[in-house]
Symmetry: C2
Subunit: 190 residues, 2 copies
């Protein structure tokens, strides 16, 4: 699961919480979903403003990421404690963290009460990528160095590991075997 | 993003497709969401049966994972091509892949048309974990060895990497600094 910092303006102040329950929800238009517990202070700002941000932290931000997951903005000023440099882009109420290499500004499309959590689907209105994390003008995951959150056997953050295979490529080995087989059939029959 | 194999019974036959657009949607009751393009053959089975499966593959299944992402069940029998051993659990129409260490049986709770994709939210009715991937009776990510799908700078599958820090722990370093500060304030004033 990806470690994400979800941001909102709550009671006039920027606040951020950590969640690993999120992912891409749609391609065109681009949308993302995050699941937040009903009691979350950040959720209060999202339901009021109908805007939020998703900030993708690098491994060097792990201390702040964990802090934003174990504290509540109702009690502490997380921006001050974590020394986040906050900026705004296209949307007024979606605070963004400068230290995070990727920032997504989102407008709420759906909020669904699923039980313990609300699933929030947001349309990504704008994306910011740190210049230092680009390669040939595109975001480079090896420079972004995202954090992966693991629950079992222990709750911990891990880094991305080695490349296993190329996508849209390695699978063709199965495909071509199949084509070979069908190509061989007429020969066998003859 | 996690590489997931979504399964459904389509036209009476088990079929599986690869998606990386998915994540946990709720805690209690446990739910998962996956985003599938409208044209997907697997989606046909999900909307008909209102049941599906999510299978988490290990890195040694990378060839099959990629194959299931670049082919359509309308044209090929992916189970045969990938030599998947299919089994069923609690739900009749949720085919599961024996080779995948984690299998989730899901009942559809919501299907949302978001544009190019349908976001499917499913309640996890049953979870299967391979015995060989347990440590002290709990799933162990180091044995599961999930595949992580990356798009930039190249589309590829990567493994999990090194442990960065313990969760619900490293963040306390910030917390305790803050507590120290407030404890120091009265002393400074005196």
């Amino acid at each position: 699961m990806p470690a994400l910092l979800v941001g909102a303006l709550v009671d006039g102040k920027p606040n951020f919480m950590t969640t690993a329950w999120g992912g891409i929800a749609n391609g065109e238009p681009p949308m993302i979903s995050v699941a937040l517990r009903h009691s979350r202070y950040t959720l209060k700002g999202i339901t009021r403003n109908l805007t939020f941000s998703v900030n993708i932290p690098s491994i060097d931000l792990v201390k702040a990421v964990d802090y934003c997951g174990i504290t509540s903005g109702a009690k502490v000023d997380k921006v001050e404690a974590c020394q986040f440099k906050v900026f705004y882009g296209k949307l007024d109420n979606a605070p963004l963290i400068e230290q995070c290499p990727i920032n997504l500004e989102c407008k709420v499309v759906h909020i669904m009460d699923l039980g313990s959590h609300s699933l929030i689907v947001g349309r990504i209105e704008e994306t910011h990528v740190s210049q230092s994390c680009l390669t040939n003008g595109k975001p480079d995951v090896n420079k972004i160095k995202p954090l992966i959150y693991i629950t079992d056997p222990a709750s911990q953050y891990q880094a991305l590991g080695e490349v296993v295979a190329k996508a849209f490529s390695i699978g063709k080995e199965i495909k071509s075997q199949e084509q070979d087989c069908s190509a061989e059939v007429p020969e066998v029959k003859e």
